[in-house]
Symmetry: C2
Subunit: 214 residues, 2 copies
Amino acid sequence: MSSSAMQLTTEGVCITYLNKQLFVLLQIHNQKPFKGKWGLPMLEVKSIHTIEKTLRLLAKSYPSLSLSAPVFAGLYSDPARHPKSRVVAATYMFFSSPDALEKSQPDHAWHPIDKLPSSLIMDHKQIIKKSKQFLQSLTNHAPLLYLMPERFTLSELQLCMETLFDVTLDKRNFRKKIISSGWINPTRQRQQNVAHKAATYYTLNKKKAKESSI
Amino acid sequence: MSSSAMQLTTEGVCITYLNKQLFVLLQIHNQKPFKGKWGLPMLEVKSIHTIEKTLRLLAKSYPSLSLSAPVFAGLYSDPARHPKSRVVAATYMFFSSPDALEKSQPDHAWHPIDKLPSSLIMDHKQIIKKSKQFLQSLTNHAPLLYLMPERFTLSELQLCMETLFDVTLDKRNFRKKIISSGWINPTRQRQQNVAHKAATYYTLNKKKAKESSI
DNA sequence: ACAAAAGTGTTATTTGTACACCCATGC
DNA sequence: GCATGGGTGTACAAATAACACTTTTGT
């Protein structure tokens, strides 16, 4: 029956991708003891809320980013992670189109995951590192489609996969597989003003995405 | 900075298997408000401990069961799950050899997962149901090897897989695959006094198991 | 005409699936 | 000698991997 003071938070690792780089959304926190410092977006799980509800609230703070559904990425419970109190983090990843890079919110910014500010609050540097590993370990590659812009070419998608999973893929085999997977649909639009044959744009198959819920 | 009273617990779903049945370890709780009722083993995450440490403590309560490493299986945070206070559960599965069925601890018993006591505390019935689904969804079947006794025949292992994943497998193909996986080793022991050709006993390849850490 | 990326098909290899009979043992 | 489960090999299908050239477009 002992109930020592403990706080549970959801801490979100929002990820997007552009030009062979992953970006993570950071926030300048404005409450003690982290006032003015960079960290991941986080929200306390209130006593009347579930974790799922809290995640919905967290995502709602960023309506313009069209975040994916949350994907559980780990628990962080080191008693020393917060300097003042006991805070256990349930971390979740959210995926977002790079369009989000241009949508700015007050006190927020996207940072390249390999060039983070020198100090982040608590263990957020660690959480981001682990989240990247987690992402690379995903055997279901579907979430990566959420890192693509609204419309994208097959080469762009292939480059994204190659970057994140640190592999090189055969163009023909890659195309056969992704097209036959049903996750993407061709459009009738093609690149314009490129000094080579114009590539067809594809889009996420939203029907399939809805069914599969990542 | 609000710190409403919240408790974090690890709640363990210890599983074993015998004769086409899964068993889960239940405990008669002896503290209010659950005095005398069946539920999963659980341990509060103390303010000085991490979740991992708490899991080690939980496993240490059952030294005779040779539990596997814990496998994260879900968070349960419904504010109403505990009648008196806010308790969020981090649930983990532990796998155990059926030898454990004979090792009795005070106030504990193994129950067939499909014939649980009519009422379990909190949402434990739900957690067990979800854990079973989680187990079935594991694409890495290796944890199931921890449900086998010290030595087992290939037919026993096949039957276990068939039961849990609710499939039927071809004997020859199953054998080829499991043997070539390197997860098990044949012994020179064979069944005795059976009214048919004696089967070879196999054991878990502990070297491989250690490397793979489930 | 040339540079740059798009787009495409075939073959070989590997992996998975289907399938049926003989073997050893206790009764 | 028969009932019981143990143990094995081969042929086919499917999935994956390797591989090179032609097309389109801007400069």
